[in-house]
């Protein structure tokens, strides 16, 4: 069977795209640690987070951990991935969606006493959308909308990698 010119051209494109795709995959894999937007508390405890410079931690705001001071705008809360927990202190205004049991991403640095001093706090919402009544019905039925499972999953994955 004679190979037509257009078959040859197509083969070259396929080989080119494949080579480029693999090269990109390798590069992304090599930069893996620089592409994460935040580290989970488990990763911080496993010493995966950078030391000596600012980084972000992400997780759920632990239930019952938020303490506001009346004197200034200082807020203390704990970030958890259901495996490890890190206390955070922050001076500033919190986003509207900041809530206990919900996702949060804080940027700052770990102080020597293990408290994360945040310079910025962002709320991380999940991909579930439903009317309030439906969420309430789920809660009453004993199946509340799960807080972002991905924090827990990713934390477990990162620990398993050790």
């Amino acid at each position: 069977m004679a190979i037509k010119a257009r078959h040859r051209r197509f083969a070259w494109i396929a080989v080119g795209v494949l080579a480029l795709g693999s090269a990109t995959a390798l590069v992304l894999n090599a930069f893996q640690s620089n592409l994460v937007f935040f580290y989970t508390p488990s990763q911080v405890f496993a010493n995966e987070a950078p030391t000596g410079r600012n980084f972000r931690i992400g997780g759920l705001v632990e239930m019952g951990s938020v303490a506001r001071s009346s004197a200034n705008v200082e807020v203390k809360f704990k970030v958890t991935d259901n495996a490890q927990t890190i206390p955070v202190v922050y001076h500033g205004i919190l986003p509207d969606l900041f809530k206990e049991g919900k996702g949060v991403v804080a940027q700052g640095a770990l102080s020597p006493d293990g408290v994360f001093v945040a310079s910025q706090v962002l709320a991380k919402h999940d991909e579930n959308y439903m009317p309030p009544e439906a969420a309430e019905a789920l809660r009453k039925a004993g199946h509340p909308v799960k807080p972002q499972q991905e924090f827990v999953d990713k934390a477990r994955y990162s620990v398993q990698q050790q």
Partner: protein, 246 residues
């Protein structure tokens, strides 16, 4: 295959595109109105985000189209290289401005959504950054094609950029799975059941359909303009114009 080649000829495609375009625009307008009605009036508020979530009726369809149009452009680029069909290159160029527009809309509405929910307009996380790169790829594609005088060489260079750049699309799509991002994961995917109330999902899918129809209509009109420009003086075009004038 012969029918395919027939429609790959600008002479056949030009009048056909002109006939079809208004129908796609009409479909887009009708479904767009229905989608907006469902999304902005019928659908309830969200249990955590309140009214702010309603931006998804624009944001998600725009983001889907921004990625899908680039894949289509790469597909036409491959067709152009493989079969040497002029029309494939023209379709590729016709899609680019619409793709760039949807990318911009996705970024812009995302910023407006991010401020009240996350607490910031912009962060350099993997999803947002790769989507911004997509916008630059679209703009680069159009600039590259405009910068080269000879249309054939311009098509070749642009097609190459379209094919090379397509590597970015899976990175955008999977960024929220591969890395920790501030951006949430996908609510709708082929592998899992949708994570949103039925009526919200319905509104969003109707809006996505409307965006599709708009994209087809706009690129058909644009490809006609490109054909006119490239084939000016061709025999078939003179005959066609003469027929239209009668």
């Amino acid at each position: 295959m012969s029918w395919l080649y027939r429609f790959a000829s600008p002479a056949t495609f030009y009048p056909l595109a002109g006939k079809l375009a208004p129908w796609f625009f009409a479909a887009s307008a009708v479904t767009g109105l229905i989608g907006l009605y469902i999304g902005l009036i019928e659908a309830p508020t969200d249990f955590q985000q309140g009214e702010a979530y309603r931006i998804i009726y624009i944001h998600v369809p725009a983001a889907w189209m921004s990625m899908f149009i680039y894949v289509l452009m790469a597909f036409y680029g491959i067709l152009f290289f493989t079969f040497n069909t002029r029309l494939s290159a023209m379709m590729m160029s016709a899609l680019a401005p619409t793709g760039a527009m949807f990318t911009f809309v996705a970024l812009w509405t995302g910023a407006l959504w991010g401020r009240p929910t996350w607490g910031t307009y912009w962060v350099w996380d993997a999803r947002l950054t790769s989507e911004l790169i997509l916008l630059f790829l679209y703009l680069g594609f159009m600039a590259l094609q405009a910068a080269i005088e000879d249309p054939r060489r311009a098509d070749k260079a642009a097609a190459l950029l379209a094919i090379v750049g397509v590597v970015n699309v899976p990175i955008i799509y999977f960024s929220v799975q591969w890395w920790n991002t501030l951006h949430q994961g996908a609510s709708v995917s082929l592998t899992a059941s949708p994570k949103m109330a039925m009526i919200m999902l319905t509104g969003m899918l109707i809006m996505a359909f409307s965006a599709w129809m708009y994209t087809i209509g706009a690129s058909l009109l644009r490809v006609r303009a490109i054909i006119l420009e490239r084939e000016a003086g061709a025999e078939w075009l003179k005959r066609h114009v003469a027929e239209q004038a009668r």
